[in-house]
Symmetry: C2
Subunit: 354 residues, 2 copies
DNA sequence: GTGAAAGCGCTAACAA
DNA sequence: TTGTTAGCGCTTTCAC
């Protein structure tokens, strides 16, 4: 049957601890208990006390399933991310969860691992659990899935892409600012051969970052197609990307990476190749995850606050109509950038006369 | 009312999409639909097809709240961790979630931030959501909270501590092995002044690691109380711990840290003090989180597989009775350990004759 | 201000 | 094999 005694412990005491039990114990109706639980003002003070006491004594907790069923609201938000192993996402989740709890919502996390079928599964789960909103932080999603969510009228919020559906909010990120600051910083240091290790372009954010890099580099007259290389937003991707770059005839003297862990991979790879950072090669990351500050040397990177994104996401889900402020990005200079070596400079001259 | 039309999109089409709608569309009873959804074998093939088609066409998804309410099983497991920002936990969560999905369970994550009231909130939430089991990975919990979970008969699994309650499983970790390997490694390299930066002792795991260190160091005759210092399992804790150690009169030539991020903090701090690693000071972490391999130099550490722990946790929740294999820990030597400098050696001699 | 009663969408007896 | 039906625990009218 539905409700066999759940006591596995052997205690037979908690045969059933529902609103009815509390009502009986307090000598009121279940409606009154419900009102007290939901802090409705229309309950006589002395009854409030009695009910509260009964609740405490019995250790009653509301069954949210039942509540959700009747009220139609699950009080859960879904968050879909691509890779919980990339430290940017835990930071974001932490922010999201704190804000969500603040306003009485649970957070259901789905991780896609950059895998489309996993993404489908996530969406399915969110639908099944009847989340009251979902934040899609994967920086990319397939149209049909989006439709399924959308057709259920579930509020959604994205980072960084604006599907043309209604009830979908977008958090815009100003990549241009941080990235052009980075390029400017490098140029002022004397670099001309500046590379970019991109993420996979099907991720909207990766594409946007590359685009920002291209235009910033072009604006400074130092963009070269062959200096763009592709990783996958993981450390091994960064490693590979750097290896590719180092094989180039006129290897770059500086490289900007599409995210921090890519930069960390690149750092590792450069150092294994015998280069010192920043003397032989300058490096800039993106995201400013906490660990960048602790790298040796500390990584120069571009801040994009996960907490800012999280808090905008929660408010978008809570009040679908209101417009969201754009998230800024800013260069934070640490110690992985310096002027290029002299021999690099002369190499540069050579390459230019070529 | 309970069920106002959820369509915010303006489409009036999805007035209500429940099992009844599907039943009507397929020309069968709701029981049959339920059977098909739950893949029960007792449905005539042609009806299976008809129902499946209706489901697909209508885009029906099961309401898990309703299912949970009647079946008494939510098909969710809770995982409580202390700090999602410590990369060990995302790795663990990832493993847990994958295993859970595999067996048809959702994962509800609660993060306590080492805060007791947050822990209470987490437990409360898990109770409310009627999770079918909870894995407590905080490496520590207060008794009374434990009782609340326990009295509900919810299966639980802990890492590394064995409360005397029933229906509570414990995953044992063999800290001694990895840690004594680490101490031996250091001793063989010639170190005698070996420090330990511990985590907070109210975390069971931190206490266990310290204990393992003490006995290993004692066994080699190189344990000194003043070489034990306390962090808090964060990078800044590691930083502070190292600062303390460096102020010591006969500063240690090697330090083992209670977890990797502590070691990363310590590394940073040592390097900022002008020491090179490992020439001036050797460093060993604990956990072997992915990033350790990418540090410069790559961090020598002790592996404790989050995935091992995760998979044991899931099976413990799934089948409460069966005993769990102990999780091993093993030293993995990378590049933050080497013999102490000669001047350190002589300093050591001085300190010994003292 | 309080209680009785009608469901929310589903599963699982039980009957046919 | 299929359908009918009684709840699961709760919120929310509506009458008192």
């Amino acid at each position: 049957m539905a409700n066999q005694n759940k006591s596995v412990t052997g205690k037979g005491s908690n045969a059933r601890l529902d609103i009815r039990t509390v009502a009986k114990a307090a000598g009121v109706s279940i409606a009154t208990v419900s009102r007290v639980v939901n802090k409705m003002p229309t309950v006589a003070p002395h009854l409030q006390v009695k009910v509260a006491e009964a609740i405490r004594k019995l250790g009653y907790v509301t069954n949210t399933q039942a509540r959700a069923l009747v009220s139609g609201r699950s009080k859960m938000f879904g968050v879909i991310i691509s890779d919980i192993t990339n430290p940017f996402f835990p930071e974001l989740i932490q922010g999201f969860e704190e804000e969500a709890i603040e306003v009485g919502y649970e957070t259901l996390i789905g991780s896609t691992n950059y895998d489309l079928s996993r993404m489908e599964l996530c969406v399915q789960r969110m639908l099944e659990r009847k989340v009251d909103g979902v934040a899609i932080m994967t920086f990319g999603i397939e149209e049909p899935l989006l439709d399924r969510l959308s057709s259920q009228g579930i509020p959604m919020v994205f980072v960084d892409m604006a599907p043309r559906k209604k009830n979908i909010a977008t958090i815009h990120v100003d990549y241009e600012k941080g990235i052009s600051e980075a390029v400017a910083h490098l140029c002022e240091l004397g670099h001309r051969r500046i590379s970019f290790i991109s993420g996979p372009l099907r991720l909207h954010s990766a594409a946007a970052r590359l685009k920002a890099f291209k235009s910033a580099a072009r604006a400074r007259g130092c963009f070269l197609d062959r200096y763009v290389v592709y990783g996958d937003h993981t450390m091994v991707g960064g490693e590979r990307g750097m290896e590719q770059l180092l094989r180039l005839k006129n290897a770059p003297t500086a490289v900007i990476c599409s995210n921090d862990i890519t930069a960390i991979g690149a750092m590792h790879s450069a150092s294994r190749a015998g280069l010192s950072i920043p003397e032989d090669i300058s490096l800039i990351g993106f995201d400013n995850v906490q660990i960048t500050e602790y790298m040796l040397p500390p990584l120069t990177t571009i801040t994009m606050s996960g907490r800012d994104i999280a808090s905008r996401a929660v408010s978008a889900l809570l009040s679908p109509g209101v417009p969201l402020r754009t998230v800024e990005t800013t260069l934070v200079v640490r110690q992985t950038t310096s002027g290029p070596r002299l021999r690099s400079l002369s190499a540069r001259r050579t390459s230019r006369t070529r």
